[in-house]
Each structure stands twice: as structure tokens, then as C-alpha cells.
């Protein structure tokens, strides 16, 4: 089985702080990591390979040269080969333009690695949080999709995906397909020292828009993006919350219950 995992290098949003004076995000010094959900997608691919060692796992990322670090981490964990998609012309792409570029990347990488049976993505990136690129990539490819997968198994010419929801469902989906993954009940594997060393030495081919024969440049980058960011701002913190302190805990708790009752929330 031939699997492509799409990965985004993202700032670790748990480390992001707000500049209290300028009221803007402080991005400097924030570590860049493999998007958490993409790590779950890679783990799902690795589990398929555990069962069928003939499985080939390719990882692709669109981003700056620095994203090679994250690609190498994926190689160290489970991927067999990595590709970087990087060009100035891609900058400012929204989800529709990004998914279109990835679609072109899939076609290009398939010309080298053979056709992919499945394309795995994280449910969403933890910086943008849109959860749109996976389904949009599936649409460009004309493939069926399952979103919010937890784990999956191969069954003949289909995948059976355990899908998160109000109840968990097992969804059968024909290959080739796109599956997006969310947090499973198990922890993804860690890289071994041996794989880490090999990953550090790995060559990562880089493709630009010039490598995509059929790409329509009107559909990429800021210009090719139908959505435009009008403004960004740091959300107003709610202030004036009331600390209930009536001297003793008993009195405070009674007061709190009364306040909630008066406010008709209980």
C-alpha cells in the first residue's frame, strides 16, 4: 500500500504569548513543531505498515525551507521518504489555494513514487484550526473522504476507519481516499536513535511551482485565494469576574449557589 501523509510545520500554540503592550502575538522564540494532528495521521499510516511491511509511507509538507526539520522528524518516526513544496508564489494561500497546490504536489510525487492508495492528513492544523485542507484536497482529487478518524484498518480495496463523533462509527471507504485524523486513545510512537540518524542524513527533494506542469498560477498564493484577511486582533479578555469570598468556605459556597440561582442558570 502506498500512503501519502500531509504535514504542516506549525508554531507550538501552547507556547504563544501575548505582548501586553502592543496587544499582538509574540511569535519569536516559539518552537516550530510537527502539527499534532498530522502526527496522528503519520501514526495511523505507521500502524498499517506494522501489519503490512510492504507499505510505503511518503510525507509531504508545504512551507519554508525550515520545514525540512519537521519532515526529518517524520522520517525518524515512520516515513520512508519526504518531499518539501516551497515557493514564494505559494505565500498567502488560503485553504482553497493550499489544497490546490497540494493537489498538484500529489500528481507530481505520484509520477515518481507511483499512485497513492490513501492520503492521510491531520484533522486540522493547530495554528489555523480550519480543518478544511483535507476535505478540499479530496475534492480536487475527486476522492471520497472520512474526517475525524481515530484509527483504521485495510479491508481489501477499502479502509475501515473508526470515526470520532457523538457515537463512534466504523466507516468503510473505497480506495483511493483521503482520511483526516484526530487524537486516538493511544500515544503515537517515538523515533528510534537509528532512524533519527538516518533521517538527519536524508535528502529531501524540494519542488516549486515551476515543477508543476499543469498548475494554474491564477489559483495560488494571495491572488488565487478567494478569502482575504481583513484584520486580526487579540480577543478581549473578559474582566470583572467576581471572586466569592464570604469569610468561610461554607458561606462562600452558599452565596455562590444563591448567585447562580438568582441568575437563573440553575
Amino acid at each position: 500500500m502506498n500512503i501519502l501523509v500531509c504535514m504542516k510545520q506549525v508554531p507550538d500554540t501552547t507556547e504563544i504569548k501575548i505582548d501586553p503592550v502592543r496587544n499582538t502575538l509574540i511569535r519569536e522564540g516559539v518552537p516550530a513543531i510537527v502539527n499534532t494532528f498530522d502526527g496522528f495521521a503519520l501514526e495511523a499510516a505507521a500502524r498499517l505498515k506494522d501489519k503490512d511491511p510492504d507499505t510505503k509511507i511518503i510525507v509531504v509538507s508545504m512551507g519554508p525551507e525550515a520545514a525540512k526539520t519537521a519532515l526529518k522528524e517524520c522520517l525518524a518516526i515512520a516515513a520512508d521518504k519526504a518531499y518539501l513544496i516551497s515557493a514564494r508564489a505559494f505565500g498567502g494561500s488560503d485553504t482553497l489555494a493550499t489544497s490546490y497546490i497540494l493537489y498538484n504536489a500529489v500528481k507530481k510525487i505520484e509520477s515518481i513514487e507511483g499512485k497513492f492508495d490513501a492520503i492521510f492528513c491531520g484533522k486540522q492544523a493547530i495554528d489555523g484550526d480550519t480543518a478544511q485542507v483535507g476535505p478540499e484536497l479530496a475534492e480536487h482529487l475527486g476522492y471520497p473522504q472520512v474526517t475525524c478518524g481515530l484509527e483504521c484498518e485495510r479491508n481489501g480495496n477499502s479502509l475501515e476507519v473508526l470515526q470520532e463523533g457523538d457515537v463512534k462509527r466504523v466507516i468503510g471507504v473505497d480506495l483511493p481516499c483521503v482520511v483526516t485524523f484526530t487524537k486516538p486513545s493511544f500515544d503515537p510512537r517515538f523515533p528510534t536513535i537509528k532512524r533519527k540518524m538516518a533521517a538527519n542524513r536524508a535528502e529531501i527533494p524540494v519542488f516549486t511551482d515551476a515543477d508543476f506542469a499543469d498548475i494554474d498560477v491564477e489559483r495560488i498564493g494571495l491572488k488565487g485565494s478567494p478569502t482575504k484577511v481583513k484584520k486580526t486582533f487579540v480577543p478581549q479578555k473578559k474582566t470583572g469576574g467576581m471572586i466569592v469570598n464570604e469569610g468561610s468556605l461554607e458561606a462562600s459556597v452558599a452565596k455562590l449557589a444563591q448567585l447562580l440561582s438568582d441568575a437563573h442558570v440553575i
Binding site: 480543518a131 478544511q132 471520497p144 466504523v170 486513545s185 485565494s225 473578559k238 442558570v265
Partner: protein, 334 residues
Amino acid sequence: MEAMTKDLWVFVETNEDGTAKNVGIELLNPGRMLADKQGGKLVAIVIGSGCEAAVEDAAAHNADQVIVLDSPEYGNFTTDAYAAALSYLVEKYGPSSLMIGATPNGRDFGPRVSCRLKTGLTADCTSLDIDEESGKIAWTRPAFGGNLMATILCPNTFPQMGTVRPGVFKKAEPVAPHAEVVREDFHVAPEQIRTRLIRIVEEDTDEVVDLEGADIIVSGGRGVGGPEGFAPIKQLADALNATVGASRAAVDSGWISHAHQVGQTGKTVAPKLYVACGISGAIQHLAGMSGSDCIVAINKDADAPIFTVADYGIVGNLFEIVPMLAAEIQKIKG
């Protein structure tokens, strides 16, 4: 390029019993305001099977028109059938804008529709307005785990699309219906639906956890200290007839299942009352619950960030406070 009409569409997702999901009806409320400002009709799109209840619900919530697709293939959600049906309707009627509830299904098929129509989609919006300058819809949404808000426009393509977070808008009071009901006939052949439900997995846990639909949530975090620490949390939840939630710290420690997790890697919730017990309030947790109507924080650390979003807080030991609060509430409820 211009849209064929000035109409604003709200997709009203249906449950398997043919009733409307809350978020679709909620969206008719800001939808009315936006449609009036743009000078177009407010149209509810109901897709389902045996979904007359949802049609009536939409009509009673101020829609000018309800377009219905009622057929067995829409009874259980599939990406392929819903994407084909909604794309068909948009191409036939040409709305100016289209809002979809940011439910798991809405976020699954919404991007397929926008991509098929080559238009823009703004994800998981929490605020909606008209941009004065352009007259377009201003879609505002959180990013970076709730650290940053962005206002997005879709200036040149139609329809302008967005998914909108459930629970952010309140349902309007029902009115005497005036909607024109249009029944459409569009079918998706079985072979065009490329996914199938194989089985529903019975949870090994006691019950199904419906955080998104809960009116009241009582959550425990690192401060509960272990699986047995959730006992007082459950006790308070029982007293309030509430659902039990948890922070990532509690879930990652294995004290409670992931189904209970609230926050960026868990569920986004907006109940009437959210009680956070022993939760410090990491930004990822706040991103998942700060839209709640009323937030109560119980924490022994007076400097915990959770108090910055709380309406009411008590500083102290949760193992003392929580059982006391449960008893007080039972007293008030009689």
C-alpha cells in the same frame, strides 16, 4: 462576478429523527439581520429524510423561504450525498452567501462544497457582521488556539461561505410562519456514495457523552488528582443534571476518557453554565469553553488564568467546595 440573488442561505442540518439540529435554527437569528442588511431573502435549506419537523422549525424562526430535499439517501449523513445535494441547490438558485453550522458534519462536507464551487469558506466563525466598506459578510473566527481573532472577507466569489460554531448565537423567539416552502427533487445514486456505515461502536464507558448538547457542564482538571477525584465532580454534575467534562491534563493522565475532553483537541462547548474544578485554564482549554454563558471557577490557586474568564470564582480546595456546592444546589432545587 455577481451572485444571481442577494439571498442569504442557512443550511439546517437534520437529526436522524427528522428534527433540526439546534445550530441551524440558531443561525437563522443572525441570518435575519444579515439578510435584511443586504436586502435579500433569508432562506433555510433543509436536507434530510422525513424532515417535516425541521421545515416547520425553520419556518417558525423567521425564514422567508425553506428549500427542502427530503429523500431516504439523506437520512444518514454521507459526505458524497450532502456535498452533491447542496452544490446542486447553490448552482440552481445562486445565493449570495451560505452559512453552515460548524458541527462535525458541517465541517466535513462544507469544504467539499466550497471547493467544488471554487469559492471561499471561513471556518468555525464566532461572530458575523456586514463589512461597511464592501457590503460583504465579515466572518470573524479564532485562530492560534484562540490567541488571535481574524476577520475574513470573500470579496470576489459566490456564495460567500462560512461554518459557524454551535451555541454562539441564540435561537430567536418563534414567530408566525410566513415562509414559502419549495420542495426540490434531487437524488444521489447509491454508487455515487463511496462511504458506508459498517457499525456503531458501543462504548465501554457507561454512557454516551454529549458535551456539545449539554446545558450545564461540570469539568475536572489536573487539580482532581486522580480518577477517584472525579467522584465529587460527578456528584455535582448529578445535582445540576449536568454532563461531566475534563481538561486535557486529566485526560492525558488517564483519569477519564477522551470523550469528556473540552478544549482545542477535544470538544468546543458553549453551555448555559460551565463549572471548572481544579482547571488552571490553559489557552487551549479556554478556547473550548470561553463561549459559555456563565463560567464558575473553583481552584486553589488565586492566580490561575481560569479566573480571568470566570463570572464567579471561589479560591480553595475543590474537595471541600464541590460537595458543599452540590448540597447547596440540592437544597435550592428542593
